[in-house]
């Protein structure tokens, strides 16, 4: 993902103009203090506030798209930067009494920008709730961006392992059942070789979408590795999970994938395996069992297709 900085050029210009005009006005009104009059500890303290504020501002500018929340946050931060810059300049430039400019900047801008920031954070909170809703089925209670899979936008196997461990504790303490499903696309390697890696990745992303569309909001789907996906059904018995798995399989088998360089749609078959909490006492054991069952199911399907041919 590219940096969003180029979207905010006008804000960066505004920041520079504000800081520059504060500096010019101060220089115009007062004189630079003599070396002995400068209190270095104050310079360090006030300078670091301004420095940190600039760093926060860089993060916001780098990562956020345009919008109301971003505007509020950036304007609040620019105001606060200007106030702390004025504070810093007070230590270096002696302004004769009678001017109210410096007090105005310091005492009025700071609270006003904090109000802007407060509104910004309020709307950010709203926005985050909206995003969380969109992430349903892909995330549970815990966010860790480093475990995200970039092809499917699902979390990876490590994330799933943590969630399974969490559910296993629930099972031990509260006897709440859990079921797990693993899913694998039949002959994905052949598909990749025929249509190319890019279409392969697109297929994975679409399978991930179908998967998240066909599970409940309490369930969690993750990409395991390669063409393998794993779904956690918390508080679900195996028999119910079987129904959900059939529904998912049905949806996936009817998904008409359109490769870029082929005129006909491609339909893919999938293999699944299912286990519940009784198959093991740790996440590793459960995942191991799922993998083995999946391999057996794949072999069975394979022989069936050979016999059919």
């Amino acid at each position: 993902m590219r940096s969003h900085a180029s979207l905010h050029t006008s804000k960066i210009v505004l920041l520079l103009v504000v800081c520059f005009s504060v500096l010019i006005t101060n220089l115009g009104m007062g004189d630079i203090k003599s070396w002995g009059d400068i209190t270095w500890i104050d310079i360090f303290g006030e300078g670091s506030i301004m420095g940190l504020m600039l760093i926060f501002l860089t993060f916001v500018i780098n990562s956020r798209p345009r919008g109301r929340v971003t505007d509020l946050l950036i304007i609040g931060m620019i105001g606060f930067t200007a106030a702390s810059f004025q504070d810093l300049l007070d230590e270096i430039i002696a302004v004769p009494a009678g001017y109210i400019f410096d007090d105005l900047i310091e005492s009025v801008t700071a609270p006003v920008s904090v109000i802007f920031l407060a509104f910004g954070f309020y709307f950010w909170n709203q926005e985050q709730i909206a995003i969380n809703q969109r992430l349903q089925c892909k995330e549970r209670f815990y966010r860790e961006h480093s475990a995200l899979d970039y092809v499917t936008d699902l979390y990876t196997a490590l994330y799933m392992k943590k969630q399974i461990e969490r559910e296993l504790i629930h099972y031990k303490n509260l006897q709440q059942p859990l079921s797990l499903m693993m899913l694998d696309i039949v002959n994905f390697n052949d598909f990749n070789r025929r249509y190319g890696d890019q279409d392969g990745d697109r297929l994975l992303a679409q399978v991930a979408n179908i998967l998240t569309m066909n599970i409940r909001s309490v369930d969690l789907a993750c990409r395991f590795a390669g063409d393998r996906f794993i779904v956690l059904f918390p508080q679900t018995h195996l028999i119910d999970a079987q129904t959900y798995a059939d529904e998912i399989l049905n949806a996936l088998e009817n998904m008409a994938f359109k490769p870029d360089n082929a005129s006909r749609s491609v339909f893919n078959e999938c293999t699944v395996s299912l286990v519940d909490h009784s198959a093991g006492s740790t996440a590793d054991e459960l995942i191991d069992r799922l993998n083995r069952d999946l391999e057996t199911a794949k072999q069975k399907n394979h022989f069936r297709s050979i016999q059919a041919a």
Partner: protein, 354 residues
Amino acid sequence: MKSRINMPSYYSIDDKILPISQIPAAMLELARNHRMDINSLLKGTGIFMQDISRRDYHISCEQLKCLINNISKHNHSQEFALRFGRQLPYINHSTLLQAIVNASCIRDLLEILRNHCRLYYPLCFLHLASDTKNHYLIINDAIGCPQQQKFISQSFISSVLTLLKASDIDKNQLTFYLEQSQPEDTAPLQTYLGSRICYNAPITAIIVPDHIGQKPLSNHSETIKQQALIECQESIQLINGKQGFLECLQKLLLRKIPRQDITLQICAEHFGISSATFKRRLKAHQTNFQSELDRARKLLALSLLVIQDLNNEEVARILRINDSANFRRSFKRWTGSLPSTLRHQLADPQNLHF
């Protein structure tokens, strides 16, 4: 002064022997599909964007190592080696692939791979050994890439699996020995290699049970295979550097260890260079004489213990080590466990822990 024995021509780490249109280009293509930035991958490799499409342009193993390092730094790279391995059979010599798909049985297929690894994947070389129960395909470093070993062995194993899968072999019947320790996220290895993976092993190897090794392949055609193999031999004759430097040294050591007390000077003479140059060259390949000697002895000891089923005294005698206590100590240093323990572990195919 002994006469210099005819050594096969070998390539060093900085010899430009890899056609850019094969392994490097395929790696970069896959990296691009993984949304990696090609320019940052080429940084420090000495390869330029315009070189990639040049015909007859070759790069050195050192440059490829640098490229692998750059790829490994990326956070999307966990599956990269395994995925690259799936493409490996199709990016090299097409005649070699023809020979492979016309092999008579899996053992035959592995043998073709062993004999033509120079055309298949020049960064490693293979040993193939068999006892009554199993066939062992052992993957070794041909050119001195200790840091890239994980990438190389994973991609190679995944490529062999792709070939075996085309012959309807179930990967869960094979066992994989990896020298690396168990990664935090085992999902990629589990998905690509199956459940029978053994970490922290003394060697990198694929173990094929005999009933699979002897399974006849349906596409087999002896005539086509022979023709293709002749063509492969011809193309090997034409290229410079038949073996990697370390491969050459290892093969020499394995031949010599049972016959004489081998020293650095003797090896240097065989290579026809001075001891000082030999030492420098070893250093350029990120190793030294003692560790190469130890590696050869380890392999020899393992094959004698497991495949020929000899006892410690006999193995010590063949390795020209004075007594069996000394041998046990050295063996522990090479592999991390005692001969008896390791023999039990290797003899029991259900055991996957070292």
